[in-house]
């Protein structure tokens, strides 16, 4: 979820909370008038009162698997990612960090693909295997 969506949800929840305060005020005023003798009808069917759905294991987001480097022929991971609208590449040997990054998938730093690379005699990174690639998002 992107930060704008989160902010929008926070705004909606604040407004919802204010409406609940209004419900409470009305109920208190009625009970004040009738010395607590009023019996309220149950609240209407709200989405929040619906039974929460249980996610089937198949629906859960699979943790991205990224295999370890093969020391005999691979020396680093090359990561291609979007950062502030620009595609950049970087290299790392830290597989644990990379796996956490793929799992978190922060909107400000979206990994596009990960390759394993070996360094040639001149120190240039030569791709070996494609290890992970983002699936195209629906509608794109």
């Amino acid at each position: 979820m992107d930060p704008l969506q989160s902010l929008h949800i926070i705004d909606l929840l604040r407004e919802r909370e204010a409406e609940f305060v209004r419900v409470w005020e009305c109920e208190q005023a009625i009970q004040g008038l009738l010395q607590g003798a009023f019996r309220f009808d149950p609240p209407p069917d709200l989405p929040s009162r619906a039974k929460p759905k249980r996610r089937r294991p198949a629906d859960a987001v699979a943790s991205p698997r990224l295999r370890r480097l093969r020391p005999d022929r691979e020396q680093a991971y090359r990561v291609e990612y979007d950062c502030e609208g620009t595609v950049r590449t970087s290299q790392t040997t830290n597989g644990d960090f990379l796996r956490s990054l793929l799992e978190l998938d922060p909107p400000g730093l979206r990994v596009r693909r990960v390759d394993s690379v070996r360094l040639d005699a001149d120190g240039n990174a030569v791709p070996v295997d494609l290890l992970w690639q983002r699936e195209p998002e629906p509608g794109l």
């Binding site: 909606l12 609940f20 109920e27 149950p42 609240p43 989405p47 619906a50 759905k53």
Partner: protein, 106 residues
Amino acid sequence: MAKTPKNMEPLSFVDIVMHADAETIKAAYEARVKVDELLAQREEAYRRIAELESQVETVIGEEGVFVFPTPPLPVAGLPAPTVKPAPAKPAPAKPKPAAPAQPENA
């Protein structure tokens, strides 16, 4: 409009006129109008809450997944707000037993 509770017999017009004095009837009428007005406001607030919750689910993109917080104040028919227990106050220190009085050297 306020409903008559199920276990109460509704009073007829004659019952009201013959068994209550004019001041009570007037006060009861005003209270009834006010109660109906407040019930309409409560209903409108719930309509708005349903609308806001639907909007949240639209943003989430799936129904029945988002766990909505409980109402901030206790309202009829819904779970009470979760109140965090206040941190336990440290027990007051026991007063130390008074030191035995020293005999005064006269």
